[in-house]
């Protein structure tokens, strides 16, 4: 696929942030920009695209968003963002979902987890260097948390980091790193004190240059046939001491802020897309007088899912209000409720579509990369729903957390 925009040479310049003081004008500008920039046929062009085309498309889309200040608008101004409020964020997500624009999922760690991690813990030098790298050079980040054998018991990780002079020497293995094959940097957790009485206490948080000698990346083919995840092998990799985030052995608490970023804002965009999907499915069924509209069981399953989707969006709005009051923390429990609710709804709804798809839904078809859960390929979307019930803390782990932390049940 050749990467080119749908814009004509005479297209005017767009500047949504210039009208951020007027929410309606801001929305109109975002919408106009999306109409001009998102190629109408991108779904078709990305269907069955190669990995290289996918990466090129992601980079193009990220650059386009950056040109109008919408790649990192949620970052503080000092960090190269626009410091916009949550209301603007809501509008951007709503309009992106409405336009069915591409999902810049290759940049999720760069856009959310990295700033959440550096906020309050990173040094100024780290923020200047790495946030600028994302904003101006489109640097891709991945996350090196999980390990073979550690799974949801993240604190049991065994990758070692030993300080030798001005560097830490890393040995070990990471797994399930999304987009690790394309990443420039990695948010890495490693054990600096194997003798710590509590296993959480001996972990440190590093910035790993994926190009450093001793780093080997191997893609893992997943159930969908894609290879979004990677294994990362670390063999005497040297990380400069300057790339330690926060204090040595204090990585566990910092990792919690990284993870909470994952459970909040990102799902907001997905929920907006989900809302569009359900509305579009219903409109399509109405337009084609689909058979399932005459099937009570299917109709009720749809409406149950629809009600759950509405509830999801309301929960996210409640979270947004909390974040508006306390921008970098938000509720301690709501993001977890949202993640579990969203992922289970996604599983149920993708399975609903799969059932409606009948035998045709079982046929192998090329998929739309970067389409989120609206690829239109029902079996692929169903399989992909596991990425949400398992990753970011398996739902079972989160339910134990809810029971103990929110409900106060004994350990």
């Amino acid at each position: 696929m050749s990467v080119q925009t749908a814009t004509s040479p005479t297209t005017r310049r767009f500047d949504p942030l210039a009208c951020k003081d007027d929410l309606d004008a801001f929305r109109a500008e975002v919408r106009a920009w999306l109409e001009a920039v998102v190629p109408a046929d991108w779904h078709a062009r990305m269907t069955g695209a190669s990995e290289a085309d996918y990466v090129a498309f992601q980079r193009w889309w990220f650059a386009e968003m950056g040109k109008v200040g919408l790649a990192t608008p949620h970052w503080p101004r000092d960090w190269g963002g626009a410091d916009i409020g949550i209301r603007h964020q809501v509008i951007i997500f709503e309009e992106i979902a409405r336009a069915q624009a591409p999902n810049p999922d290759m940049f999720v760690i760069s856009l959310y987890h990295l700033p959440a991690t550096l906020f309050g813990n990173g040094s100024k030098a780290q923020r200047d260097r790495y946030l600028t790298g994302v904003k101006e050079r489109g640097e891709v980040w991945c996350q090196g948390f999980s390990e073979p054998g550690s799974g949801s018991d993240l604190a049991s990780l065994r990758t070692r980091a030993e300080r030798k002079g001005d560097v830490y020497v890393i040995n070990g293995q990471k797994v399930w790193s999304s987009y690790g094959a394309f990443a420039d940097y990695c948010l890495l957790l490693a054990r600096t004190d194997p003798t710590a009485p509590k296993k959480q206490a001996g972990i440190s948080y590093f910035i790993l240059n994926m190009k450093a000698p001793g780093v080997t990346v191997r893609p893992i083919r997943q159930a969908t046939g894609q290879a979004e995840f990677c294994e990362i092998f670390l063999d005497n990799v040297e990380i400069p001491v300057a790339d330690l985030i926060g204090e040595e052995n204090a990585g566990w608490a910092i990792a919690q802020s990284t993870l909470s970023a994952e459970r909040g804002l990102i799902i907001f965009e997905l929920s907006e897309r989900m809302a569009r999907t359900l509305d579009a499915d219903l409109a399509e069924a109405k337009r084609t007088d689909a058979a399932w509209l005459k099937d009570d069981e299917a109709r009720r399953a749809f409406t149950r899912a629809y009600n759950d989707m509405v509830a999801l969006r309301l929960m996210i709005r409640a979270l947004m209000q909390e974040i508006e009051t306390d921008p970098h923390m938000g509720s301690t429990t709501m993001p977890t409720y949202i993640k579990v609710h969203f992922s289970e709804l996604l599983r149920r709804y993708t399975e609903f579509r799969l059932k409606l798809g009948g035998l045709a839904g079982q046929l192998r078809q090329p998929i739309v990369l970067g389409g989120g859960h609206q690829t239109g390929n029902v079996m692929h979307d169903f399989l992909l729903s596991y990425a949400w019930t398992i990753s970011g803390g398996a739902n079972e782990i989160l339910k134990t957390m809810i029971a103990e932390r929110a409900l106060g049940l004994p350990r």
């Binding site: 109709r299 009720r300 709501m334 609710h341 103990e404 106060g408």
Partner: protein, 371 residues
Amino acid sequence: MSDGHSDGMDLEALRDGVRAVLTEQASHEKVAAFTNAEGVRDEPLWSQAAELGWLALSADEAHGGLGLGSSELAIVYEELGRALAPLPVLGTMLVVEALARGGDAAQQAAWTPRLAAGELAGAVSMLTPGDRTTRLTLSAGADGGVTLDGVAADLLDGAAADILLLLAREGEGLSWVLVEPALDGVVVEKVATVDRTRRLGEVRFDRLALPAGRVLMGDAGQIADALLAHAALALASDARGGANAVFEITLDYLKTREQFGKPIGSFQALKHRCADHKIALVASGALVAEAVARMASGDPAAGRYALAAKALATEVYARVAQDAVQLHGGIGYTWEHPCHLYLKRAKLNEQLFGGPAAYLDRVTDLLLAAA
């Protein structure tokens, strides 16, 4: 529920006040005593509710009410549900709303102040989504009056009511007609439900003559839609309150009850069920609150939200209450323990004014119409 036309009141203060009274006056012991005595309404509590103005919340200020709306009513319904209070508030408030929407000045003046003051309790025909059938017929009577024939069954709070508002067929159309059970020849049969905090009523009419001024003039279908939305939000709120209450009782039990040498709440299988319930309570609670807010602001889609909230919240309540009995083990299955009261109320809520399937079907139709 109608949209209020004041700026509302401090909702949390209202909630605290209602809860404080109900904690005292509708304790589990008192509710259990009431249900064992087979009463139709808790008279001392009813008087207190009237004195405190709970029944006057939504009535117009011109008729002795406070002129408030759905937000305030929903809090009262939620707290009544939390306490399992045996009060015919819903039936009464439905008659107030119907009068506000379809009553003429004389009808409102005659009935609304007495309903708002708690002198009269009301009950209305059992409506369901998508079904407007009635077994009552209305025909012209003497002196400008009307004659009523047939049966009105399944009247929620009917046995406790002093005024009934019934949907009757009149020729090709439908009408709402006000009937006092105290009239000669009218007997409301008490129909016992398994949920002893509430009763249904059934009444039969054999050429009952009613004086003029007993038929509401407003559009009967629109009144029915409004009453159904009101009932849906009331039951959704009752479900929200009851579900949270029985869940809290269950959590307390899981934290203290020991088996195999440790609190049973430490077992993962039980924890995960509680987490599932918590998430469902947060999700359904958000939908109920949104429906209430939309109703209060007069949003055109409020009716759809109310029906969706009823379907979701009553199903969640039933699920939580069912599991509460199970999680309490043998004690939860006893008559002495309040679990079964919540379970029975939850299961009745699911069916009152139509079951979950009817609500889902109606919501689907409304979504399709808007698609």
